[in-house]
């Protein structure tokens, strides 16, 4: 059969189904998302929210949107959850093969090229918008990758449905002389802005700080927005008699047990076992 790309054989059938037979197209799980990346003096900070939506429903209130490409190259992904996970997964494997073959630690620009070439082949049908950041032997790098395969290199980036809210915070707070704590706090605020002002983003804040030969992942660094204030106490207790009994039937399943041989200290023996 054919080698790669999408198979459009069923395209006509699908169009007919939708138009004539009122077929409902299944909804993909999108990561509504706010993802952010910022370069600081010693490295890069990546941040993401943790809400995955399927239409108007929150499919996963605490998903991981920051993916590992290599030890010091990480990638935050917005768009279709399956696309971002599998794309970053595949490029991660390719990069490991390459680094074993060349005997060098991988470069961020290599990951960038692999990702953009991959996405371009699919002409935007793979809905993965990525913020790629890392530190290699040439220094810290931060890039944004659009689903069609175009890339940009910038000192601060935001993507996803919450990108406008996050960018507002970044534009206000960014300075080229930021240190690690400032950068972390800026990313944190930017993600919070997305979580609060965008419906597609929510949940907790994840942060990833990458410096030369060091990576710190702060999973759920901020959970104030995901604590459910109004929660019914479990278990559900219904008043006795609230369900009407229509019929009653009692079946004898087991005859009464007889104690044939009672052992002293039987309980102690069982505990020893």
């Amino acid at each position: 059969m054919q080698k790669g790309g999408f198979n459009f054989d069923l395209y006509q059938r699908n169009v007919e189904l939708i138009e004539k037979n009122n077929y409902k197209v299944p909804k993909t799980t999108k990561t509504g998302t706010t993802i952010v990346g910022v370069v600081f003096s010693d490295g890069v900070v990546l941040g993401a929210d943790t809400r995955a939506t399927s239409g108007p429903i929150v499919a996963d209130p605490n998903c991981e949107k920051i993916h590992r490409i290599s030890d010091y190259i990480w990638c935050a992904g917005a768009g279709t959850a399956a696309d971002t996970e599998n794309t970053t997964g595949m490029i991660s494997l390719q990069l490991e093969l390459l680094s074993l073959s060349t005997g060098r630690s991988p470069r961020v620009r290599t990951a960038l090229t692999l990702l953009k070439n991959f996405l371009f082949r699919y002409h935007g049908y793979i809905s993965a918008a990525l913020v790629l950041g890392g530190v290699d032997f040439t220094g810290p790098h931060l890039h944004m990758i659009h689903p069609h395969g175009s890339t940009s290199t910038l000192p601060y980036i935001s993507m996803g449905s919450g990108s406008l809210a996050a960018m507002a915070v970044l534009e206000t707070g960014y300075s080229s002389k930021m240190g690690e704590e400032d950068a972390k706090s800026l990313v944190h605020q930017a993600i919070l802005s997305g979580i609060l002002n965008d419906l597609g983003s929510g949940g907790n804040v994840d942060l990833c700080v990458i410096k030369h030969k060091s990576m710190e992942f702060f999973r759920n660094i901020d959970t104030t927005n995901s604590k459910r204030k109004f929660r019914k106490k479990l278990p559900y207790m219904f008043k006795s008699g609230s369900t009407k009994i229509l019929e009653k039937e009692i079946e004898e399943k087991m005859r009464k047990m007889e104690i044939v041989n009672e052992k002293e200290n039987a309980i102690e023996e069982l505990e020893e076992l």
Binding site: F8, D9, G89, L93, Q94, E96, L97, L100, S101
Partner: protein, 254 residues
Amino acid sequence: MLNEFSNNTISLFLQKKKKKGSFFNFSLTTFSPNGKLLQIEHALKAVESGATSLGIKASNGVVIVTEKKLPTTLIDENSVKKIQKLNDGIGVIYSGLGPDYRVLISKARKKSQQYFKQYNEIIPVNIISRKVAGIMQEFTQSGGVRPFGVSLLVAGYDHNGPQLFQVDPSGSFWAWKATAIGKNSSNSKKFLEKRYKPDMEIEDAINTAILTLKEGFEGEMDEFNIEVGVITNDKKFRILEPEEVKDYISELNL
């Protein structure tokens, strides 16, 4: 919009074009009247005349060493790296034909990534050994190809602890506590039989390995004409730097 018919004819055409290179439909490795596969026997001979490599499995790690005998001093030893990594936790060494080894390493690395893609788990040592053995067996039963002229020693540390496997040109593989392949393999193995202890620790094993290699070494052994690879319970395979190897050698000379 391409329909299925034209899709298939185009792919068939491309396949036919691809097969142009391999004219042989029959295997070149066939049984002799006394039940042997002579090509494999010859391949094993090629291994036997290759540079010595040996490996020792300790209680908390594995060490593999090889002699890096270069034909002339003009060759840049830094460009020759005989011990290779398959992934972070598995290292390999060989005896036999270098180019065949390179091809196998390339295939083995790809297999280990494919395994990770499929199971989201780092490939265990016995499974990658089995897969490499499978590749080597393919080449004893396919059209127009010859067996690989290498035996491999695969050293790794996974959830089953430290392991050392040998993979042969025939495609057979098995686990060793300690072994040697290549030129002085039988003498080295006798030496190892006496020295091996099951509760050996990795430092001891490294010393024993270098000592065993020294026994059959022609000429002066130094940190530039041997390679040492070690993996311990941190599960990271490491090829020792020449300075570290120099320390071990000087310890032995004392």
